[in-house]
Amino acid sequence: MTNTKIKKLQRTFKEGLDNFKRNGWLSFATVSVLAISLYIISVTLIIGVASNMVLKNVQDKINVSVYFNSDIEDAKIQEIKEKLGSFQEIKSIEFVSKEKALEQFKKLSNNNPSITQALDEIGDNPLLSALVIKAKSPEQYEIITKAIESSVFAQDVNKIDYVENKTAIERLQSIIKLVEQVGLTLGIAFIFIGVLITFNAIRLTMYAHKQEFEIMRLVGASNTYIKMPFLFEGIFYGISSAFVVMLTLFGTSKFLAPITQGSIAGGDILDFYLHNFLLIFAGLLIAGVILGTLSATIAIRRYLKI
């Protein structure tokens, strides 16, 4: 780029900034509406990403435990395990013998003396051997349990527990889906409004400068030179709203941090925000610049007759 071009770019940039500052309340209103639309979109995205993380977390933890009657030999259970291994829906099967289960139970209860004492009192191991099955996807648990219930070894099975987990997951999934749909619809509606408002603000600036276009041309300004300030003005609206949204998102996540404590891998929603700060900020800036440029281009195309 030549020196003159850089010079002109600087000057039109400054002109655009002046327009933006001089508009005062109009700029404030424009930035607010743009910020609201960007805010809704980003909250939706963050909820989407965060809740999918939660879901994945929960999904990884769920499994079906098939408990066998206490008179069933370990060897028999191993045999059943091998049979189940041929199911393509099953991701993994882990055999937990009653001894191991007891050990885990003791560990879980922190070797609480009263519990160990109670166990000693019973003398015999009260726990059952189990196969812990993980499916490839949550909806397959039902197929797996049905298959086990109707299999030849069904009478050896003491109990199968999976049901509570399943409904919780289904509810979580449908909530996430609903939030995403509502958020995206609202966000798109607000983006539309935001572009309209920005476009209108730029149109008003153009109107205020109406008699100047002729003068600009007469003193030898190129069309690009006349257009650039309006483009920059649009970009300023976009960038300012990105900053506003960054702040409000920080406030929101700080407010929601206690509620979300522990539900997201690696802490709460505030940690999530801080951890992804640069990514979110870059995304917002890009979105802001795109929206501003889009609005300015529409305004220039429609109203700048030069």
């Binding site: 600009m216 003193v219 030898g220 300004a221 190129s222």
Partner: protein
């Protein structure tokens, strides 16, 4: 240097503003263009600074047809032509200095050059003491001087002045005309459209009269009223 060849300009609605105009103007001339309001003076000038394009014929500047100039390059062409108008056309939110500087800014001149050139040019038009005033703080005559400075700042080959004194009192009018004469004496071609009889008579330079879109008179050292027209009107008055 400036040439009109069989130029016609017809505005939408079949309004004929100029009809078959042939005209040549040489470098360094001082030409007054006279005629009634609506006779076609402004259209003639607009064709020269490429605000309008001719319907027929060719307008050329230094042997180059304005039609052949790419729209993208028109701004560069316009820097060869300084314009001054009756309504000044100054940017109201810029000071006298900034108004002149603006013409250089759009051309991408460096800040140093601008800081050097603008006061010089404002000094030539006698406005250096009022550079930081806004147009609304200046009298009509002063505003027109700022316009002249702005028109001069690109060192144009031609100055086109469309009734520059239309809004001014006699003293300011004469000052502006003297300024134009001074600029002309430095070699710049001047085209002055005016209604002012006194100016034209006093200048005693080339006069082109337009009536109904046609050139009806083109005389060197002309007066505002042609001798024939003068006699005609004398006869009419006597008849009454």
């Amino acid at each position: 240097m400036l040439k009109f060849e069989n130029v016609s300009k017809i505005y939408p609605g079949d309004f004929v503003a100029l009809e078959d105009v042939n005209l040549t103007i040489e470098q360094g001339e001082f030409v007054s263009i006279i005629g009634h309001s609506g006779a076609g003076k402004s259209t003639l000038l607009k064709l020269l600074y490429a605000e309008e394009q001719p319907t027929n014929g060719v307008v050329s500047f230094n042997e180059r047809s304005l039609d052949s100039i790419n729209r993208k390059h028109l701004p560069f062409y316009r820097r060869n032509v300084g314009t001054v108008f009756q309504d000044f056309k100054l940017l109201p939110q810029k000071t006298a200095y900034e108004n002149v500087a603006y013409a250089l800014e759009v051309a991408g001149e460096s800040d140093e050059d601008i800081a050097e050139m603008v006061p010089e040019i404002l000094d030539i038009v006698g406005m250096s003491s009022k550079m930081s005033k806004y147009p609304r703080q200046l009298s009509g005559g002063e505003q027109q001087r700022v316009c002249m400075a702005r028109a001069l700042v690109h060192n144009p080959l031609v100055i086109i002045a469309d009734e520059p004194t239309g809004n001014l009192d006699p003293t300011s009018t004469w000052e502006i005309v003297q300024l134009l004469v001074k600029i002309n004496s430095l070699g710049t071609t001047i085209l002055l459209a005016t209604h002012n009889k006194v100016i034209v008579d006093k200048l005693n330079r080339r006069v082109i009269e337009i009536d109904d879109g046609k050139i009806v008179r083109d005389t060197q050292n002309g007066k505002y009223t042609s001798v024939r027209a003068h006699n005609n009107s004398k006869a009419e008055i006597q008849a009454i």
